[in-house]
């Protein structure tokens, strides 16, 4: 115990020597994170008109009466004219435009689409998008394309069905004129901008506000990238010293615990400084997180501590694995970016395929992100994955140190 305390005290002294340099890097990182938060909030605060419209190519017979009218209507509607732009083109042109990223996708309308529908046949419109595009834009575009094709299809079915009804049941009425009348009334209702739709935003259960979501993501990313400022603490460690301490009675567990605790204390100093600076910056620029408005910030900060401890343990293990300075920096950076991506620090994870989403959720960063989100949603989070990861990562670090000491 005496040797442990002496070693711990010396590790603290070591950490204290590194403190000024670490604080400088931490503050820089905090400023960058705060700027990222402001940028993200600024992007989402932009008005609808400023948003880039989704560009969709249309390939096929657009001369058909009903189809042309339907598309014209869509392009004229308030709700879609700022968000969708249709561009008629041939298939080769559309494929080339999609490859070059000039359009977001194109719809292939089969020949005789409208006549086939009148005969009761179903010839589906094919929507082509770029492969591997799993981001939110592509997801929304697919949804939009499906909605549009359904809208056109159902409208035309209704119009042609009404024409058949008029022809069968109302002998004195011209079915084509009746059909046209129906289309015009439909168009008038659709074009009635004031009553076209009423949009309400409701926060469903289990969903965070956007600022809260990015608070979690950026906090986690900050924690993971912060380790880079501590590389000298680990790169300068002597393996010979570890061996001698082990032979002298201070085993791998004692060594790891003393070094880890001093690292945690260093991190807490860094977090305090970074938190104050980021809070000042965000407060000055008026960025607000609704979930924290009733004085929830101290509760969130305290609740986030286990996540910080777990991320520290992860970084500690990575430094044990890497050894040198270059390897340490690279490994920490790759781990932060990859895990941050999979945990949803950059994009919400619901745009990922199911398998990737599940994989991301079980990683340390995923568990940390879930805890942070639970803290903001419910004000508390149960002990679970984060503590389990903390125990596993520290145990792995002890085993690795024991192996190094015995080599």
């Amino acid at each position: 115990m005496k040797r442990f305390l002496t070693y711990f005290r010396l590790q603290l002294r070591r950490a204290a020597r590194l403190l000024p340099r670490m604080l400088a890097v931490t503050l820089l990182l905090a400023v960058l994170t705060a700027l990222a938060a402001l940028l993200i909030s600024g992007l989402h605060a932009g008005d609808e008109a400023a948003a880039e419209p989704v560009r969709i190519g249309l390939v096929g017979d657009l001369e058909e009466n009903m189809l042309a009218e339907g598309l014209q209507m869509l392009e004229s509607m308030d709700s879609s004219r700022f968000s969708i732009r249709f561009e008629p083109m041939d298939e080769a042109e559309a494929a080339s435009a999609l490859r070059r990223g000039r359009i977001d996708g194109y719809a292939l309308i089969p020949a005789g689409f409208a006549e086939a529908m009148m005969r009761g046949e179903h010839r589906p419109i094919t929507y082509v998008s770029a492969s591997g595009s799993a981001d939110i834009g592509a997801q929304m575009m697919r949804e939009l394309a499906e909605t549009i094709s359904r809208l056109v299809l159902e409208t035309e079915n209704a119009v042609y069905g009404a024409q058949d009804f008029v022809a069968d049941r109302l002998p004195g009425v011209d079915p084509y004129r009746a059909g046209d009348g129906l289309v015009f009334r439909y168009a008038l209702r659709l074009m009635d901008r004031e009553r076209l739709y009423d949009r309400q935003t409701v926060d469903p259960d289990g969903a965070l506000s956007l600022p809260a979501y990015y608070l979690c993501g950026l906090s986690l990313l900050f924690l993971m990238l912060w380790a880079i400022s501590c590389v000298p603490l680990f790169a300068g460690r002597s393996r010979e010293l570890g061996r001698l301490l082990q032979a002298d009675g201070l085993g791998a567990a004692g060594q790891v615990l003393a070094e880890y605790l001093s690292y945690v204390l260093l991190m807490l100093c860094g977090l305090l400084a970074a938190g104050l600076l980021a809070g000042l910056l965000l407060g000055r620029f008026g960025l607000r997180v609704p979930e924290l408005e009733d004085g929830g910030l101290p509760r969130f900060a305290l609740g986030a501590l286990p996540t910080a401890l777990m991320i520290c343990a992860l970084q500690f293990l990575l430094f044990e694995l890497a050894g040198g300075t270059v390897g340490g920096v690279l490994l920490q950076f790759l781990s932060a970016v990859l895990q941050g991506y999979l945990a949803g620090c950059f994009y919400p994870t619901n745009v990922f395929p199911e398998g990737l989403r599940r994989f991301g959720a079980v990683l340390p960063a995923g568990a940390g992100m879930a805890r942070l989100q639970a803290l903001l949603l419910r004000g508390s989070a149960g002990i679970g994955a984060v503590w389990l990861w903390l125990a596993m990562l520290l145990s792995a670090a002890v085993l690795l140190r024991r192996r190094q000491n015995r080599s």
């Binding site: 300068g236 002597s238 010979e240 010293l241 001698l244 032979a247 002298d248 015995r406």
Partner: protein, 225 residues
């Protein structure tokens, strides 16, 4: 009094590095171990220091097997490895604090072994700003913290200049004269001349070796199959 090393065996996977190494060494003497690179000299010293576990063997001192009594071993045996077991960012004094009780440190600096090693010249300098010779002297100073009886040295003055070498070897000579027991893995003629007895480690076994000081002879002997 003497230390007795009996049938030390060590395997790394299928590779048998030590195949039953045995020797005796009396208090107040120095044993030099020669051998080609990779012959197992460092492995043997690490086993005796308690850093590595042997597959078999005993290290007897005063009737106790030090390989099975870590507490006694830690109080009797000191080991100076090839590398530097130091906390680089901390001063020489802080490094010594890890191994010494405060009173013992003050005593040793006042007129003890740390004074002999000249550590008082750079006590407040961080280890990573010390020269190679100073770092080695500091490592030796750390190893001698518990007034050990047995000192294990792995090429202790390799790559040091003559002044640093001379100072360190004088410290070892004093240690031996005070009844200490030295086991030194070495290729260096200066170091080997300090020894009273030599062994050649070859094929995992220790052979008696008559070192004459003839510079080219150890090379020829190491090359012999």
């Amino acid at each position: 009094m003497e230390a007795e090393i009996l049938d030390i065996q060590k395997r790394y996977g299928r590779k048998e590095v030590l195949r039953g190494t045995s020797f005796r060494i009396a208090a107040g003497s120095c044993l030099g171990i020669l051998g080609a690179n990779g012959s197992g000299k460092s492995t043997l010293l690490k086993i005796l220091a308690g850093v590595l576990r042997p597959n078999a063997g005993r290290f007897l001192w005063q009737g106790e097997d030090l390989l099975r009594n870590p507490r006694l071993r830690a109080s009797q045996v000191a080991y100076v490895p090839q590398g530097t077991p130091l906390i680089e960012e901390l001063s020489a004094r802080d490094n010594l604090r890890l191994w010494y009780e405060p009173e013992a440190l003050a005593r040793s600096l006042d007129g003890g072994v740390l004074r002999q090693l000249g550590l008082d010249e750079f006590l407040h300098t961080p280890a990573n700003q010390l020269s190679g010779g100073m770092r080695k002297r500091l490592s030796i100073g750390c190893a001698l913290a518990n007034d050990p009886v047995i000192l294990l040295l792995d090429e202790p003055t390799a790559a040091l200049d003559l002044v640093a070498k001379e100072r360190i070897l004088r410290c070892f000579e004093n240690f031996r004269q005070s009844g200490g027991l030295l086991v030194m893995a070495s290729h260096d003629p200066w170091e080997l001349e300090l020894c009273d007895e030599w062994r050649l480690l070859r094929g995992g076994l220790l052979e008696p070796y008559a070192y004459t000081g003839e510079r080219s002879r150890p090379i020829r002997d190491l090359e012999r199959p």
